[in-house]
Every structure is written in C-alpha cells, then in structure tokens.
C-alpha cells in the first residue's frame, strides 16, 4: 500500500441527472463540504453505466467508482436504476475476479432532496478508498 503524503485517491462518481446530480447540487447550495477526491460525472440515467465503463475507470487509474441513482420507484425512466443494480452486481463479480475487489465499487440511491446524504455518502466512500490505498495499478 502506497500512502505517501502527496497521494490523493481518485474517485469517480456517476450521478444520474434527475436525482443524485440534483442531490449534489443541493449539497452545494447547502455549502455542505465533501471529500475533494471525488470527480462527478453526470449521466442521464444510472443505467448508462455498464461494466465496461467501470472497468475503464479502473484501467485509467481510478481507485474507486460510485454509481448514484434514484431510489427504486423514483427512476425518471421508470426502471433504469433497477437495471443498473443488475449491472453493478455483474461488475462486482468481475472486480473480484480481477483482484481489484468489489469494495471499490458502490451503488447508492440518493434523491434530489438528500444533499446531506450525498455529502455523507461521498465522505464515507472516499474515506474507505483512502484506507484501501492505491498501488494496485502501478503501471498507471
């Protein structure tokens, strides 16, 4: 585990446009500070994120990936988030096989009104990734 003082984890958070991204907005409006290691990527629906994209994040040096979508039943496209759940389960299996570990990928439901939950979720996951450390993809 490489834990130099300069090392900062890279965490990619895919947020759906309708719930989680609005939740991130609310966290901003509330001036809720959260871990700067996170890089937010807005997508129209969490189900846009397939295993290939998540693996590409790890290939390009991410230390953790978050997929954040609407609560079940609240999906703007009716059932995208439920479909995403199946894809994430498949990706967990792949991450275990690859030796990266499923703990580096989380799926959470965050609504537009949950700014505080958004901040807390990011903080908790970034703290976990800091603990897990990097050094798994030493070739970058």
């Amino acid at each position: 585990m490489r834990q130099e003082a300069s090392w900062q984890p890279k965490v990619v958070a895919f947020c759906c446009n309708w719930c989680s991204y609005a939740g991130a907005d609310l966290a901003g409006v509330m001036r809720r500070q959260y871990d700067p290691a996170v890089r937010i990527v807005r997508v129209m629906c969490s189900s846009r994120i397939d295993a290939g994209l998540i693996l590409e994040c790890f290939e390009r040096g991410a230390d953790g990936v978050m997929v954040l979508g609407c609560h079940p039943g609240d999906c703007h496209y009716i059932s995208g988030n439920v479909k995403e759940e199946m894809r994430v389960q498949e990706t967990w299996e792949l991450l275990d096989l690859l030796g990266i570990g499923r703990e580096r990928l989380v799926l959470r439901w965050i609504s537009a009104s949950e700014g505080e939950l958004f901040g807390r979720t990011i903080d908790e996951f970034c703290a976990l990734v800091r603990e897990l450390g990097s050094g798994r993809r030493s070739d970058g």
């Binding site: 295993a51 290939g52 792949l94 275990d96 690859l98 798994r136 030493s138 070739d139």
Partner: protein
C-alpha cells in the same frame, strides 16, 4: 492465399495498429472482456483465476502440467445471459485430464493470454502479457502448458516465442492431449448420438489440429461432417470481442443451418468464443430456423461421455 504474396493476416493487423493504436473502434459486450484483459496486464493486480475449481476436481499444485484457463471465468460473468454453463468447460477439462491420469496445476493468478491484443495490433499490451505469463510459468517449474481454448494455445505456442523463449516447455491443446490418451488406451469414452463439429479457426487453420478432436468425437458418438469443415471450416462470425454486426450474425445463422442440415443432434465446437457466438445466434434466431441443433463444447461433451467407473 494471395497470389502476389501479401501476408494478409499481418497486413490487417498492421492496419489495425495504425488506425486505432490498439483500441477497437467498436468493442462488443461493452468492451468488458477487452478491459479485463488489459487490467490483468498490470503487475500490481492479482486476479483470482481458480475460483471455479470444485472439490471433486483433482488439482496438483506441484504438477509439471499447467491447465491454462484464459478468459472463460470473465466470460461466465459477462455472457451468462447467453450461456450459464461456461465454467463447466474448465471443470470438464480437469475431469478429462484426471481420467487420463493427469493431475494438472492451475495458476492462482492468471493473466490474459494476449491473443486478442496481438491481433488488434496492440503489440505493447501483448508483450506485457506474454512476458508476465512466461515468467509466472518459468518460476513454478512448469514443463507443459495445456489449453482447452485454441486461441490461448495459439498465443503460447505461436506468438510468445516472438517475445521470449519458451525453451523446455511444451504447449498443446487439450484436444491433442486427449486424442493421445485415447490412442494409448488411457482414456475411455462411452456415448452415443450423432454430432457434427465446427472447427475453430485457431485450432484447424492455425494449429492444424483437425483429426484430434474428431478422434474424441468418434470415440463417443457418430460424427457427420458439415460441407465446410477441417481446414476449410467456416468462421463463427467475429473475433477479438470486436463489433458483432449483422454480417457476423448472418455468418452464424448460416453455420447453424449447415449444422442442422447434417441431421446431427448436437453441434460441437472446441473454442469458448465459437461456443458463445453460435449460442448467441441460436438464442436470438433459433426460433426462425427450420431445425435447431444443441450447441455444446467439445470438452464438456466428452467429459459427459467419460466411462462412469474411472
């Protein structure tokens, strides 16, 4: 064959290298398998490659014979919706080797063979994978590498020597090992049914292994040949997890029709990718076809035909 002497496979490979610098323009299955291959190339990752081993399989981690598994465990996750029995291929491979008196070793952390990287023109990734694999095998005193996947075997036998020496190591496909075991009487198969065989390109055209899988098939069933077979076998539609389009589907449907036309009940192939491609075409278009065949992997089928009392 080109009458002007142009090496077409190498020409296409070079063009791919120049046009895409290794990344395929459109990768099938969200690029999961291409990404997984690349991720295993990192020396810092330790893939968990032997999770499929079940207690009934006899594995000997000091054996000189390695069973190289390849990407089937990843395919089992990403392509489970097409076939949910892919892990039976490595399991059957061990059962057959056990029956032939071989207790193989499996690597706890195996890396991709690099076959697809090479043919996509990604020489840098291929060389990294080849070096890592050769090193892992050299360190552990393995003398023989056996692969059920013809692409893995082709990578080891034909491509790795471009990167590093494999001196003192023998590479064979499982079909070759099993055909030897049958002719020497070590392996006995018992079965019935009429089958036809789809030759994977790397096995028949690449390695020239045509008779060995047929020896297995004839030992446990009746073999009827399709019009295009052996070194003139048809393609399963696509390769290297590159884009699978309507052309590929048509090639696959044509092939399934050809297999059904022989009257055989089962279409057997010896490559996990051919198996997936043909199964996918059958899943989506089988209902439109006048006659359907079961599609099965050679090793799974042969393991089912093992004389029970071994």
């Amino acid at each position: 064959m080109c009458n002007a002497g142009v090496e077409f496979p190498q020409l296409v490979r070079e063009l791919r290298r120049r046009s895409a610098k290794g990344s395929l323009p459109v990768a099938a299955h969200h690029g999961i398998l291409n990404r997984a291959a690349r991720l295993t190339a990192s020396p810092a990752t330790a893939p968990r490659s032997a999770e499929w081993v079940t207690p009934d399989l006899e594995i000997d981690q000091s054996s000189e014979v390695l069973l190289y598994v390849g990407c089937v465990p990843y395919m089992d996750v990403a392509l489970r919706y097409i076939r949910d029995d892919l892990l039976e291929i490595p399991r059957s491979a061990v059962r057959l080797l056990n029956a032939a008196g071989v207790r193989p070793r499996v690597l706890r952390s195996e890396r991709c063979c690099g076959h697809d990287a090479y043919w996509a023109g990604d020489d840098e990734l291929f060389a990294r994978l080849a070096r890592a694999n050769i090193e892992a095998v050299r360190e552990s005193g393995i003398k023989e590498i056996v692969a059920f996947c013809p692409e893995c075997a082709s990578a080891w036998r034909d491509l790795y020597p471009k990167v590093a020496s494999l001196e003192g190591m023998r590479v064979r496909t499982l079909a070759e090992v099993l055909a030897d075991a049958i002719s020497s009487g070590k392996l006995k198969l018992k079965g019935e049914g009429t089958v036809t065989f789809h030759d994977p390109c790397r096995l028949s055209k690449g390695a020239g292994v045509v008779e060995q899988p047929r020896a297995l098939l004839k030992a446990a069933g009746t073999l009827v040949e399709m019009p295009r077979s052996g070194p003139m076998s048809a393609c399963c539609g696509t390769a290297g997890w590159a884009d699978c389009d309507h052309t590929a589907k048509r090639v696959q449907i044509e092939r399934l029709g050809e297999a059904a036309g022989t009257g055989a009940g089962t279409l057997i192939t010896a490559c996990p990718k051919c198996l997936i491609h043909l199964s996918c075409a059958d899943r989506h278009h089988g209902a439109e076809m006048p006659r359907r065949v079961r599609i099965e992997d050679l090793h799974v089928w042969a393991a089912k035909a093992l004389a029970r009392d071994y």
